[in-house]
Symmetry: C2
Subunit: 114 residues, 2 copies
């Protein structure tokens, strides 16, 4: 099935993204957990993330991560595919994502009340 970019989701060139925007995007526990799960899954997640938020809230977070250049979102029929732009982020901010992920313990966000 052909993958397409969902309407209205822009994927910026990493050269246009500054460090503050990336840190701000990751400074939210749900967004940090989404990126952690993406990395743990080898960079690509098709379908759902295991986070205690509604689909609408998750969409909002994914949009923030996309705007910050961290995630690429595409749609394949009913399924949403999320891809961590790890290689591009590494080129733009060497060592940053590995250092953050190394300190992002797994699953803490799931301890939040539903």
């Amino acid at each position: 099935m052909q993958r397409r970019r969902p309407r209205g989701w822009a994927h910026p060139d990493l050269g246009d993204v500054d460090l503050g925007r990336v840190l701000d995007a990751l400074g939210d526990p749900v967004r940090l957990e989404v990126v952690r799960q993406l990395a743990a899954a080898g960079g690509v997640v098709r379908g759902a993330f295991d986070v205690p938020v509604t689909g609408q809230t998750l969409s909002h977070h994914l949009r923030t991560l996309t705007t910050a250049g961290l995630v690429r979102v595409s749609q394949a029929g009913r399924f949403r595919c999320c891809e961590l732009r790890a290689r591009e982020v590494e080129q733009r901010f060497p060592g940053l994502l590995p250092a953050i992920l190394a300190n992002a313990g797994g699953g803490a966000v799931r301890m939040m009340p539903p």
Copy 2:
């Protein structure tokens, strides 16, 4: 002159600070620049930072950095002394601050309109 902690400024134990709070604190260009200048100055700045904000706004940013465990603020007479808690942050989040600082180019924040 004796240094004292300004009233109402709490310095949390790094063990009580989570990664999201640190990233969120650094996800602001002025706060990132304050931390960059602190690091460039060897960890301690007495007096002023070179940032294009009012003293009151700077105080607000310093408080956010302090709450996130990144900075320790003390007062010596009329002078405020700011110290980067680099060693403690390194113990809590190994490699994080060096990776962020390595990607925080100097002075970009000064290009903002006054």
